[in-house]
């Protein structure tokens, strides 16, 4: 481990020496703010920054790690008052407030460099607002259905490819005394994941994005069709009961104990499921099944990003750091199973040899022709997302309130998109 990273750092040092021959050595201070506060990501980031520092001995790097939840509110203060040189954030609509307020630096010049333009093309859309790019992505992960393979085998079921199979599987699971899907909707966003998939499978990626952009009304019949499909699952008892009481982590034990057979979740659910004792023989993954065969499959794959605040002091060093972060070798290293355990952004990077990462990478690179969405609360404007996710939870608990919910969302949309 140590040997490989050292040799990698050496190799990188060599390559930057050749590439940067004409370029002045980086000096001064580089302040980096991170939201990667969990132990493993934190260690990964700190090590990567250490490697970067080793390449630029004259650069004085100062790293601040802020708790992930606290970061979401603090970013507003530090971007306006005391901006660092580099800061982590999220792609798509979640960066809009800072872009429109002029707090993020336009980094289109980085994206014009062939190295980045070619290798990062897949995420360019998520980083683009007003035709310009405002940051670089460093990791992403697939969403999909994680299920208990042993339960499926016990009941003689196989991975469903269509909605009908999904429902008939589900009926068998319910008859065996289990719930088909676990979910904890206390913090609302998990319900957003279900809506993303049901809507993208029913109406397609473009419609989903049009709804996100406020071009379609929530009371539209096509949106109702999505809810009608959802309701079929709710009415048959597909979801665990009382999900409004649980966080996503608190919903995991249902699956671990075998009371629920599957979980629509991001790849970050794999680690706690494994820690809870599920082996790779018991745990497997499938892509959310086809509902409407006429629409191309599209996926959720949230992207985490690095940005340069417009108030940064050392933008030159910050740009160099961004180049370093997205380079193929660094991407391979920080995303491997021992570190972030997610997917690298750079097309030339290699995916760590993990069952779920491989499946996810294959799915996103070859089986999501419809497009790749970020996630409900990143694609929809923040205010709309907050109101809508609350409505989605209400729908999951009291499906009869649908008309009321949709009318309410239309009313909120009127104000949110009028700005």
């Amino acid at each position: 481990m140590r040997f490989t990273t050292t040799s990698m750092a050496l190799a990188l040092a060599g390559s930057t020496m050749i590439a940067g021959a004409a370029q002045a050595e980086l000096t001064g201070d580089l302040k980096i703010f991170l939201d990667t506060s969990n132990p493993a990501p934190r260690a990964t980031m700190e090590k990567m920054i250490g490697d970067f520092a080793a390449l630029h001995p004259d650069l004085n790097i100062e790293t601040t790690v802020i708790d992930r939840e606290a970061y979401k509110t603090q970013i507003r203060n530090f971007l306006t008052a005391d901006a660092p040189d580099v800061a982590t954030w999220y792609a798509a609509n979640r960066m809009t407030p800072y872009v429109t307020a002029g707090l993020f630096e336009d980094v289109s010049d980085l994206w014009a460099e062939p190295e980045i333009a070619e290798n990062l093309a897949s995420t360019k859309g998520a980083m683009t607002i007003d035709g310009k790019q405002w940051g670089v992505p460093y990791t992403y992960y697939q969403w999909g259905i994680y299920y208990r393979k042993d339960i499926y085998e016990e009941l003689g079921l196989s991975e469903p490819a269509t909605f009908d199979e999904m429902k008939s599987n589900c009926q068998v699971i319910i008859d065996s005394g289990r719930a088909c899907y676990t979910i904890g909707s206390k913090f609302l966003w998990t319900a957003g994941g279900w809506f993303d998939y049901l809507n993208m499978r029913t109406n397609g990626f473009d419609f989903h994005m049009a709804l996100a952009a406020g071009e379609v009304k929530w009371t539209d019949d096509r949106v109702r069709a999505t809810f009608a499909n959802w309701r079929e699952l709710i009415d048959m008892g597909a979801f665990v009961e009382n999900h409004q009481n649980y966080s996503w982590q608190e919903a995991l034990p249902f699956m671990v104990k075998g009371e629920a057979a599957a979980y629509l979740m991001g790849n970050f659910a794999v680690a706690p499921l494994r820690e809870a004792g599920l082996t790779d023989d018991q745990l497997d993954f499938y892509q959310f099944p086809v509902i409407n065969p006429d629409v191309a499959l599209a996926e959720d794959a949230p992207t985490d990003t690095f940005h340069i605040p417009s108030g940064a002091q050392n933008k030159e060093a910050a740009r160099e750091f961004l180049r370093y972060v997205v380079s193929a070798d660094v991407q391979t290293e920080i995303n491997n199973g021992a570190n972030l355990g997610q997917l690298p952004i750079n097309a030339s990077a290699s995916v760590d040899d993990d069952k779920f990462l491989n499946e996810g990478f294959a799915m996103l690179s070859s089986n999501s022709p419809g497009g790749v969405a970020q996630f409900f609360d990143r694609d929809y404007p923040a205010e709309m997302a907050a109101e809508a996710m609350q409505g989605l939870q209400e729908f999951m608990v009291i499906p009869d309130n649908l008309d009321d919910i949709l009318n309410r969302l239309d009313k909120v949309a009127e104000r949110v998109y009028a700005k």
Binding site: A101, N242, N245, A382, E383, A386, Q393, E394
Partner: protein, 308 residues
């Protein structure tokens, strides 16, 4: 303490301005630090909140003046209405802490071996953090594993999902809040009971009062100061309720347990919020409600002072 210095002839100029005005100035000097801080950290923010409530502002960009726009929107906001009603429920049911505290205090106000231990145990919930209280009650209420449903099951009552049911959730949280609040009122009354005049009790007993009559006509009137303080802290506590809601339901299910302070936080400061103006408008409404009580408290304190 006299302002007249007998060693100096009247009308002399050697007396400094401070010496001449000492009696008038000194109280203000004592008050100055407090007034300064109060103005800076209380009055000024209140003023600012009121100003911000007339703007449409996301905390980053330009603030846009929209007059009463935020208040007009509040009138038509279902979530605001829910928060208002919930605040009312909090106000009403939180007051149960006062008779509850009085009852426990009367019960514990005896000399029995180990009474201090019992008092400590009753006081314990007030010592632990509200966050812990919230977590403990969340587990207690859990629909499948929770102790509450375990107990209900024993007497053959079906499982209830207290925090997941929009019609029960607020009451569930208030019940959790009553636990530490009752302990607080109990301590206030225990201290009050220490000050009850034994001669009056003796006199009452000679006149044949006992039981409820003794409590109602002799004890409770003497506990008036304690009751007043208990009333103040309970009302303020009810209007400030925030942490328990945040911990136990996060405002859910679908926003049915919000109160004004929580709704203000959601709109102005939470992950998806940042409508500073709208949040400020909610805060102003909450402030006006509090002002009614604060005015009443100040008035009755003033009356008390004057009566002496």
């Amino acid at each position: 303490m006299s302002s007249v210095d007998p060693t100096l002839p009247p009308g002399t100029t050697s007396r400094s301005w401070y010496k001449r005005n000492e009696i008038a100035v000194t109280p203000w000097l004592f008050l100055a630090p407090a007034i300064l801080f109060f103005a800076f950290y209380v009055i000024w923010p209140i003023y600012q909140s009121i100003v911000i409530s007339f703007y449409d502002w996301d905390g980053l960009g330009e603030a846009r003046f929209i007059g009463m726009g935020n208040y007009v929107e509040l009138m038509d906001d279902g979530a605001f209405e829910v928060s208002l009603w919930n605040n009312l429920k909090w106000l009403l049911f939180y007051l149960l802490a006062i008779p509850g505290g009085l009852f426990i205090a009367l019960f514990l106000n005896q000399t029995v071996t180990g009474i201090r231990l019992y008092k400590s145990l009753f006081f314990f919930p007030f010592v632990i953090s509200q966050v812990v209280v919230g977590l403990v009650f969340s587990w207690f209420y859990l629909p499948n594993e929770g102790l509450l449903n375990g107990m209900l099951g024993l007497v053959g009552l079906g499982p209830v999902n207290v925090l997941g049911d929009p019609s029960w959730a607020t009451y569930g949280i208030i019940a959790a809040g009553l636990w530490p609040q009752t302990a607080y009122c109990m301590i206030l009354y225990l201290t009050g009971l220490n000050a009850v005049d034994p001669e009056q009790i003796e006199a009452g007993r000679l006149d044949g009062a006992k039981g409820w009559k003794m409590l109602w006509y002799i004890i409770i009137p003497q506990l008036k100061p304690a009751t007043f303080i208990a009333f103040v802290v309970t009302i303020i506590g009810a209007l400030r309720s925030f942490d328990l809601i945040s911990i136990m339901t996060n405002g859910g299910p679908f926003g049915q347990t919000r109160v004004l302070s929580f709704y203000m936080f959601e709109k102005a400061l939470s992950e998806y919020g940042f409508r500073m103006g709208y949040g400020a408008a909610i805060a102003v409404v909450l402030f006006l409600i509090m002002l009614v009580f604060i005015a009443y408290f100040l008035w009755s304190m003033w009356k008390e002072e004057r009566g002496r």
